[in-house]
């Protein structure tokens, strides 16, 4: 339906991909988010920063519809979350240490699952689906490993498989929950390069990160979360970069004023 409405691969950049208004949400018990506002426009890359427990992950999971809203509003591409059905436009990369489950599965099998939002249950996959899956695998530099079981891959390679699965749907919005946590530099560079390519097609990106590494150059805006509130929303400052670098180089080093991110 929306495929018809869309003019082409390039989305109007001014249009909002994600709108979050006064959102309160959380798992059972006390809410984790206490009234959060956030906007991500098409073609924009927004980094969500903050310490563990600040609500970054809860926010992206709420936006992805995985955690129910207690109050407030979330809109994806101008449609309220409850009515939103065009999930083919959203690529989600969950926070995982492994892509494997109880039965072996190959790289191609897992990335192919990313194509499902574009395929009705009764239709077999066609040539275009297979091309999209292969392109996604190539983009994350796993060409030649299509038939490998994911459990045999390194942690970084498995993270790339999950990223390729999100790319296979050809998304206009990518939501990434800590894609860089504990992965090798090659994986970080591959992620940055393929994100840049999606953004060039007009896609919006919301990325939770502890370390930005090669992603740094792509970031348009930083949103710092603290105790379920947005503590800062604006350009990435040198102070924050310094803080991230410090975390990066000495991940377990002592920190003074650790959760302030240089903000007052």
């Amino acid at each position: 339906m929306t495929d018809v409405e869309r003019a082409g691969p390039t989305q109007p950049t001014a249009k909002s991909a994600v709108t979050v208004r006064a959102v309160v949400s959380g798992y059972d018990g006390d809410p984790v988010l206490h009234g959060v506002d956030l906007d991500v426009a098409g073609g924009q890359v927004v980094a969500l920063l903050g310490t563990n427990g600040s609500g970054k992950s809860t926010l992206v999971k709420t936006v992805a519809g995985l955690i129910p809203l207690r109050s407030g509003e979330v809109e994806l591409f101008g449609t309220p979350l409850a009515q939103f059905r065009d999930w083919a436009r959203v690529g989600y990369v969950p926070q995982r240490t492994t892509a494997a489950a109880g039965v072996p599965a190959t790289v191609r099998e897992i990335v192919s699952a990313g194509r499902l939002p574009r395929i009705p249950w009764w239709r077999p996959s066609n040539g275009h689906d297979r091309t999209a899956v292969q392109d996604a695998i190539d983009q994350v530099a796993l060409s030649g490993k299509e038939r490998r079981p994911v459990a045999e891959l390194s942690g970084g390679q498995q993270q790339r498989v999950l990223f390729a699965r999100a790319l296979a749907t050809e998304p206009d919005l990518l939501i990434l929950d800590e894609p860089t946590a504990g992965v090798d530099l090659v994986t970080q560079q591959v992620l940055a390069a393929s994100l840049a390519q999606r953004v060039a097609h007009g896609a919006a990106v919301l990325v939770v990160a502890h370390e930005l590494g090669p992603l740094l150059a792509l970031i348009d805006r930083a949103v710092v979360m603290r105790e379920g509130h947005v503590a800062y929303d604006g350009p990435l400052t040198d102070d924050m970069v310094g803080r991230l670098e410090e975390d990066h180089v000495h991940p377990h080093g002592p920190h003074t004023n650790r959760d302030s991110w240089g903000l007052r």
């Binding site: 992805a64 519809g65 989600y92 489950a101 109880g102 192919s112 499902l116 249950w121 490998r148 990066h248």
Partner: protein, 286 residues
């Protein structure tokens, strides 16, 4: 006379083929979801359904399907809520189900311990002409759904969180899998018995994945192995004069041990032959 010349054996063999196809097809998804034991619990609940059939004087297979499907949906709902108390709720349901089943069968007019045993562990003489038709119908439904929705069930069992964001009807697919498990339990109980059906769902999958590298190969390998095991176990039980369920399952476990042992030996042989992996220098990030 050879085994295939008996009418009851012909019926039992047809049932064994259908059970061998269905149980591992559903079992592959359960193993993928790391729910290997859930079929066992649903088997326990199915026995109450069998007993109701005896009490009401209707075909036990039909009451068992209804009770097992309802029980499976309840089990799935309890697991989906993810509460800590859910574990205890499942225990109540599983043990309550089997205890009530045994109790009601003992109270029912035609029920005695030998009928009970045929349902608990399977019996090749117990597959009647009407049973074959019912088993064939149920197996057709199970196989159509398990293979027809293969991509969707794969996605949900591999990563339910991702499947939800992909817009798949995750709860509906999980309930479908629960219902498939219940139907498989019921169609298999004549041959393997409610206490052992879970083994035929899980052991062929565990054996297949010793040698497979993909989901597809595991699914098809487990199904082929399931048919081979249930048919040869059934023939074995004919000649050994043993209950069919335990014969099939002992054979399945033996095959698993042999395959896993061979794979382990081959692995060690390769490690011995090849120089070991060199320690990688630590990568220092810039």
């Amino acid at each position: 006379m050879n085994f295939w010349q008996y009418a009851f054996m012909q019926r039992a063999l047809i049932a064994a083929v259908l059970v061998g196809l269905s149980a591992p097809a559903v079992g592959t998804y359960l193993v993928q979801r790391r729910l290997s034991l859930v079929g066992d619990g649903i088997g326990h609940i199915a026995l109450t359904g069998v007993a109701l059939g005896f009490l009401l004087g209707t075909a036990p297979v039909l009451t068992a399907v209804v009770v097992a499907v309802l029980g499976a949906i309840l089990v799935e709902t309890i697991m989906a809520r993810g509460k800590a108390s859910g574990d205890v709720a499942l225990a109540l349901l599983f043990y309550g189900g089997i205890a009530l089943g045994v109790l009601l069968i003992s109270l029912s007019p035609g029920g005695n311990s030998s009928t009970l045993l045929t349902y608990l562990f399977g019996s090749l003489v117990s597959v009647g002409p009407g049973d074959v038709a019912v088993i064939a119908l149920l197996a057709f439904v199970v196989l159509a759904v398990a293979f027809g929705l293969r991509r969707q069930l794969f996605a949900v069992c591999q990563d339910p969180e991702y499947a939800r964001v992909a817009g798949l009807p995750v709860s509906a697919l999980n309930i479908t899998l629960a219902a498939l498990t219940a139907v498989t339990v019921t169609l298999s109980m004549r041959v393997v018995g409610v206490l052992l059906i879970s083994a035929l769902m899980v052991v062929p999958v565990a054996t297949a994945q010793q040698v497979t590298r993909s989901f597809r190969a595991t699914l098809f390998g487990a199904v082929l192995l399931g048919v081979a095991l249930s048919v040869s176990g059934l023939i074995g039980s004919f000649y050994l004069d043993t209950p069919s369920g335990p014969t099939v399952v002992v054979l399945a476990v033996l095959v698993f041990v042999v395959v896993a042992g061979a794979v382990g030996l081959r692995h060690r042989w390769h490690l011995h032959r090849k120089p070991g992996p060199q320690p990688q220098p630590l990568t220092v990030r810039p």
